[in-house]
């Protein structure tokens, strides 16, 4: 049985609730349509490689389909899926035996934006800076990257991130702080003097 509910704090993106959907293709299709893009984006931010991200997204949903009927009823579907995605990425990185390397952002994805209606932050997002952010993310530990992406890019609460990772709040905060400091250090040369409030920090 499939139903749609409004999640706390997110009126624009209703949470899909599955009561008993093991083996139900329609329920699974609805779940994919609701969560496919966020999960794909999450995986891409972790691996920085488009074909690999697509492959791991499919693997995530394959595992989700197989495990749907064993899901804890109290677990939120979105955090449950992010948790599977995180495990899939960790396993993929472990199997490779090395960090997944950044592949350059292609031109179609990184054209500069010259629209005058956008703000100063968006305007400084040049190809060079996007590449620098991607590389800085790639240099974080996997745990730090996961926490940073979920907290800063996906705006999850600590409680939700705990549900995804199983990390204690102390570890979450430590990983987040270290990730932020490392990114600040790596990006400082690209940002100093280019945007109000960013760069040149001590």
């Amino acid at each position: 049985m499939l139903s749609i509910v409004k999640p706390n704090g997110d009126q624009s993106a209703p949470e899909v609730s599955v009561d008993a959907s093991g083996g139900d293709p329609e329920a699974f299709r609805a779940i994919f349509h609701r969560y496919g893009k966020p999960i794909h984006a999450f995986i891409y931010h972790l691996v920085g490689d488009r074909p690999r991200a697509e492959e791991l997204t499919q693997e995530t949903f394959l595992r989700a389909y197989r495990a749907l009927d064993r899901r804890q009823p109290a677990a939120k579907l979105s955090t449950w899926l992010f948790g599977i995605a995180r495990n899939v990425v960790r396993e993929a990185i472990r199997e490779k035996g090395r960090r997944l390397h950044l592949v350059g952002l292609d031109d179609a994805n990184s054209q500069n934006v010259h629209d005058e209606s956008i703000g100063p932050i968006e305007r400084i997002l040049t190809t060079e800076l996007e590449g620098a952010i991607r590389r800085a993310l790639d240099e974080l530990s996997v745990d730090q990257r996961v926490v940073f992406v979920l907290k800063v890019l996906k705006k999850m609460s600590y409680q939700e991130i705990f549900s995804v990772t199983g990390f204690s709040t102390g570890k979450l905060k430590t990983d987040l702080h270290r990730a932020r400091m490392q990114l600040r250090y790596k990006l400082e040369p690209y940002l100093a003097g280019r945007a109000p409030g960013i760069g040149g920090a001590s």
Binding site: H40, Y44, Q58
Partner: protein, 240 residues
């Protein structure tokens, strides 16, 4: 609130994760501290940059709308792989049998580990006591029931045997879960699993033989219980 305290909670304040009272204290501090206001502004500006980056990148990501169909077909045709894991917080696991359905196993394992720790600690104390007694009355030291020291030794021996039985029971329980799921696993994973279990069993047999040849030797008792413990941990890892 001082600057040091604010720096510890600046990220939480920025994300609105503080309780009302603490958030009010942080706001009050910001009202009077230009440096912390600057640090918060930097954090906020960086966050906006990262959000803009994410939005721009995500707008260019394409996802095949029919991927769900391939995933469902793949799920039906591929066996569960060894170590295929589920979210940590969800309690689901790759064996397909959530431990929530077997709360007694976790309790048993925890209880066994506690017994092992307390038994071995007691054992060392008893053995030390007996060594001291040996000097005074060597023939009496290891005679169960012959003295208060002998009673302690007898009690420690019984505790070791109880701990061993508890371990064996926990291993049987965990084993039954693993065996039920073997047919759904990749045959190579099953072979690897069985090879590991054989090695652990050989280790247990060796440790057990050594201990029962010298049942008053504390080190051998610890060695034997550690061998059992290793198997419990191995099986527990497989089922969690």
């Amino acid at each position: 609130m001082n600057c040091s305290h604010f720096q510890n909670i600046i990220e939480d304040y920025h994300h609105g994760e503080l309780e009302e009272r603490q958030s009010a204290e942080a706001s009050a501090h910001l009202g009077e501290c230009a440096k912390c206001r600057g640090d918060l502004a930097l954090l906020a500006a960086e966050s906006r940059l990262y959000e803009a980056y994410a939005a721009k990148v995500e707008s260019t990501l394409d996802l095949d709308p029919d991927m769900w169909r391939r995933a469902a077909e793949g799920a039906a045709s591929r066996p569960v792989r060894f170590g295929e894991s589920q979210p940590a917080g969800a309690m689901a696991h790759w064996l397909g049998l959530p431990l929530a359905a077997f709360p007694w196993i976790r309790q048993t394992v925890a209880a066994v580990l506690l017994v092992a720790v307390s038994v071995t600690a007691t054992w060392y104390i008893v053995e030390r006591q007996h060594k001291a007694n040996d000097k005074a009355a060597p023939m009496q030291a290891y005679a169960p029931g012959a003295s208060s020291g002998g009673e302690s030794l007898e009690s420690a021996l019984q505790s070791i045997q109880r701990a061993e039985k508890e371990y064996i029971k926990a291993i049987q329980d965990l084993n039954s879960i693993v065996v039920k799921q073997e047919s759904t696993l990749d045959p190579r994973a099953v072979a690897e699993l069985q090879a590991n279990l054989r090695a652990i069993d050989e280790h247990i047999a060796m440790a057990r033989k050594a201990y029962y040849a010298q049942p008053t030797n504390a080190e051998l008792a610890v060695y034997m219980l550690a061998a059992y413990s290793r198997k419990v941990e191995f099986l527990q890892d497989l089922t969690s």
